[in-house]
């Protein structure tokens, strides 16, 4: 499991989640995003195209990050969910909380 951060030319931070986002690694993701927020970034895309599964702690950290980013006038978008992850967001109704796009490129284009 690994998290990657890169910034596109318009300043959007794209976070890649490889493997899983679960109780054991959620704090690492949270800290990386909060560090970027602290450094002035305001637009974020989390790309799940290489993610196998997310548990409720992973969902919770996304909710927490979304709130913190919005409080700073920013926005968090999610992208690349596979069919199972999309279903997970729908059954928890978190699809109503997040802007979700099929690909990271679509998320970037929507900013």
């Amino acid at each position: 499991m690994r998290f990657t951060l890169k910034k596109d030319k318009s300043g959007v931070v794209i976070v890649g989640v490889e493997g899983q986002l679960i109780v054991g690694n959620r704090q690492e993701l949270k800290q990386k995003v909060l560090d970027a927020l602290e450094e002035g970034s305001r637009k974020f895309v989390i790309d799940f195209s290489k993610t196998g599964y997310i548990d409720s702690s992973g969902l919770g950290v996304l909710v927490s990050l979304s709130k913190k980013i919005r409080e700073q006038g920013g926005e968090l978008r999610l992208a690349g969910l596979n069919a199972d992850l999309q279903t997970l967001f729908e059954l928890t109704k978190l699809d109503t909380l997040f802007a979700i796009t099929r690909t990271a490129e679509e998320a970037l284009a929507a900013f």
Binding site: I22, V23, Y53, S56, S57, V61
Partner: protein
């Protein structure tokens, strides 16, 4: 701290140290040792992994309080038509009927409280022992 793993013909036994950082490794150990054909690859890669991570995370966080001197026991039974996973901690248990619905509008933005809700949607059957410190997850083949 390390995982203690024992695999016989139809059962796996696993002692997971009370460390949230061990959850991912424990899940992979179980998932990667399931005999081919037990469950569909998709159910193993998503339903089983997510539900087991949830149950282990709950047991470590709430059951054993992340105490490094304690551990959580996992027993996996490989049945003809199902995989049954027991996760038991040595905590005081909890009342599963008192959990709020995480999909209600007032709860959507809460960080916690989705674990059991998610588990119930990912497996075919969920049961608890009387004390509330043990959960049994059943995933049926062909479901």
């Amino acid at each position: 701290m390390s995982l203690q793993f024992d695999f016989s013909k139809n059962t796996m036994k696993l002692d997971v140290p009370s460390d949230l950082g061990m959850v991912g490794d424990a899940v992979e150990l179980v998932a990667n040792n399931l005999p081919p054909g037990t469950l569909s690859p998709r159910r193993i890669s998503f339903n089983l992994r997510t539900a087991l991570a949830e149950a282990l995370g709950n047991a470590i966080r709430y059951g054993t309080g992340e105490d490094p001197d304690r551990s959580v026991r996992v027993l996996v039974e490989l049945l003809n038509d199902a995989v049954r996973i027991y996760i038991v901690d040595d905590g005081h248990g909890f009342d599963t009927d008192r959990l709020p619905d995480p999909t209600r509008p007032e709860n959507i933005e809460r960080e916690f409280g989705r674990g059991l809700f998610v588990i119930r949607h990912l497996v075919d059957d969920v049961a608890f022992n009387a004390k509330g410190n043990g959960i049994c997850l059943t995933l049926r083949a062909g479901a």
